[in-house]
């Protein structure tokens, strides 16, 4: 395959055209980093299965067409449709631009825009550099008290001009002892090619408790790269569930730092993948001290010509005694053309640890299918029922109650769609 490279010269011109302000110096530094290191390629171990050519291609087309950010005004209806389905206090990033009109000032939540005050960024990775270089604006959120409604973060993009690119950058700090509920939803409007690159950093304070739901239902013309970096305070807890339902090429990186004793995290994920899709979930947990526990279960349902990747890494560093780390990944392959690469990676350098991992790849249970058919359900109905059952468990684990109904209906609609595809 012909290799494509991101056009740095065009990128530089685009960066220089962005409005001057608090982010200007950061953009320049990020651009320099990116120029030096370039974007990851399949020669990097972590990127073995996911090729960013599609992201680069969309970026180059967008850059050569003038690299403009589409107005966010036309997104009103799409935004309303999403936020009306979940009762939350919504912050919106639409076409890369912050939109505060749906957000109600609330005691306990403080929001600062990067364009007003840009604190130093961590730009330790090329995609974070790309994000910072092209960033219009971002959000820094501090939650210091429990609020009546969950915090919603909607990232939505519309592409109707051939190809477009946008960045989203959000930092969330949850204060000590505070309970917070967060819903992140990444979605699309429009039909053309789009590349979205997001960087989210979550800092969970001492003894704080965060419930976090992530929904991604981008359209099939969308390429997505996103990194969520989490750092956990002493005795803090995080419950998270991710639902990847859309996108052409999706790469999620989740990095979790357990640097203080007593923290407890569970993060689960469901990915539904069908014809023409590639969804890659890379997770990494660094257990630096004990006691602490991490547990994840990802499940995938694949049909048609598609590919999914799950790579779960847990590193138990020297001295992190009292670590409990569990990872599981289960996949349902409904088509011979579906491909899954599932890889647990445990690196243990401490003595007193409990670790487990398990991955499975399988088809629907034939005896269950037959049993349902002897009760009068046709093959299609039986398949649907068993597939739903496989997903149901993870829908039930959505840790933010306000989002459960929306997740349920999105997953059901997506599953119905996925099962339309001819079995092969």
């Amino acid at each position: 395959m012909k290799r494509v490279a991101l056009s740095i010269d065009e990128l530089r011109k685009a960066v220089l055209r962005l409005p001057e302000g608090a982010l200007t110096a950061i953009r320049a530094a990020a651009l320099a980093n990116l120029d030096e290191h370039g974007l990851p390629t399949v020669r990097h171990e972590d990127w073995k299965y996911t090729n960013l050519d599609a992201a680069i291609d969309i970026s180059n087309r967008w850059l050569s067409a003038g690299a403009t950010l589409a107005s966010k005004d036309s997104l009103g209806e799409s935004i309303e449709a999403i936020i009306s389905s979940v009762d939350a206090n919504w912050l919106v990033i639409a076409n890369g631009q912050v939109d505060m009109t749906y957000f109600a000032e609330t005691r306990g939540i403080e929001v600062v825009r990067f364009s007003e005050s840009a604190a130093p960024f961590v730009m330790d990775r090329p995609l974070a550099d790309l994000n910072a270089a092209l960033l219009h604006d971002g959000l820094r959120i501090r939650i210091d008290a429990a609020t009546e409604k969950p915090l919603g973060l909607l990232v939505i993009d519309e592409s109707n001009a051939g190809a477009a690119v946008s960045q989203a950058s959000v930092e969330i700090v949850v204060g000590p002892g505070c309970d917070a509920e967060i819903i992140e939803h990444q979605s699309s409007a429009g039909k053309d090619d789009h590349y979205g690159n997001s960087v989210v950093a979550l800092q969970v304070g001492q003894a704080a408790m965060v419930n976090y739901v992530r929904i991604q239902d981008r359209h099939i013309g969308h390429v997505q790269t996103g990194r969520l970096s989490v750092s956990m305070g002493k005795d803090s807890r995080l419950k998270m569930a991710s639902y990847d339902l859309g996108g052409r090429l999706v790469r999620n990186d989740i990095d979790i730092e357990l640097g203080e004793p007593g923290s407890e995290i569970t993060f689960d994920g469901l990915y539904l993948v069908s014809d023409g899709q590639h969804i890659d979930n890379h997770t990494r947990v660094d257990h630096r001290v004990g006691p602490a526990s991490s547990s994840q279960e990802y499940r995938g349902i694949l049909n048609g010509r598609c590919r999914a990747v799950w790579n779960g890494k847990a590193i138990v560093h020297k001295g992190a005694d009292g670590t409990d780390a569990n990872q599981a990944n289960h996949n349902l392959l409904l088509s011979d053309n579906a491909e899954i690469d599932a890889k647990p990676e445990l690196e243990i350098y401490a003595d007193d640890v409990k670790c487990s991992h398990g991955t499975t790849v399988g088809q629907l249970d034939e005896s269950a299918l037959y049993y349902l058919r002897t009760r009068g359900l046709d093959k299609r109905q039986a398949t649907q029922l068993l597939t739903h059952a496989f997903a149901a468990d993870l829908i039930g684990r959505a840790p933010v109650a306000a989002a459960v109904d929306a997740i349920q209906s999105l997953v059901e609609a997506r599953l119905a769609d996925l099962l339309q595809e001819p079995a092969s």
């Binding site: 037959y370 009760r375 046709d378 068993l386 059952a389 149901a392």
Partner: protein, 250 residues
């Protein structure tokens, strides 16, 4: 209703049914007995349409049509119900949901509207009470974590809701304590009707104390080697299966 003529069937390379013939008419209750491994479950699964069992010879005619042509779901909608010897656990599929989907699949086939949700639940609860089943089982996964007896009762519940024309109960009695056995027998007896046939596959004659069969057949090595009335079951109990084997080979 059901005519089986010289039926031969194998699983993998093993021939199991070796020329079995049996006629069942509406209104009748038949008991099929026989030693372990004689092919009782195979017969039941062939009638239900399990694709692992390959029919290599003979015919099965149901209500005037070739049964072997039909998919398992078509057989079910045409009124055939198999109560499994080993009911399948299906975690995540709600028991009530399956019951309703099964009833509706059949109703749709008959050109009827879907059941009213309220009526359906009311009816299911009544039948569960009669079977001594707690209605909380409606909200569990299908057979998920059920005990042996609970699974069997759940099969009978499905049967009661589906009101089949031909019910085949494969060792529904095994593993049941006496109360459960009585409850199951009551469920079956309530279903006895002039337009319905019931086939009880059983290893022991115990069940037949509670459900009186019109005919008893003994299956051995894939064939019916003896048929008679209910006294045959008592004779079997007394003399053991060796007696039949000897009689068959004599």
């Amino acid at each position: 209703m059901l005519e089986i003529n010289n039926l031969k069937s194998r699983i993998g390379d093993t021939e199991i049914l070796r020329g079995l013939s049996l006629t069942i008419n509406a209104g009748e209750v038949h008991a099929i007995m026989g030693p372990n491994g004689s092919g009782k479950s195979t017969l039941a699964q062939v009638i239900a349409g399990h694709s692992d069992y390959v029919v290599t010879g003979g015919e099965v005619n149901y209500m005037g049509n070739d049964l072997l042509d039909l998919e398992p779901e078509e057989r079910a909608r045409e009124g055939i119900f198999l109560g499994f010897q080993y009911p399948v656990e299906i975690p995540g599929v709600n028991n009530a949901y399956l019951l309703k989907a099964a009833v509706n699949a059949k109703r749709k086939h008959q050109g009827l509207d879907e059941v009213d949700a309220f009526e359906f639940l009311k009816c299911a609860r009544e039948k569960m009470a009669a079977l001594g089943m707690d209605s909380k089982f409606l909200n569990r996964g299908v057979n998920e974590g059920f005990s042996g007896g609970e699974k069997k009762r759940n099969e009978i519940l499905q049967m009661a809701m589906l009101e089949p024309r031909l019910a085949i109960l494969d060792e529904t009695d095994s593993g049941l304590d006496i109360d459960a056995l009585k409850a199951v027998a009551t469920g079956v007896n309530n279903l006895r009707a002039a337009d319905r046939a019931i086939v009880l596959v059983t290893h022991y004659q115990r069940l037949l104390d509670y459900i009186e069969p019109d005919f008893v057949h003994v299956l051995s090595e894939g064939k019916i080697v003896r048929s008679g009335d209910k006294t045959l079951a008592l004779k079997l109990e007394e003399k053991g299966y060796d007696w039949v084997r000897e009689a068959a080979s004599a």
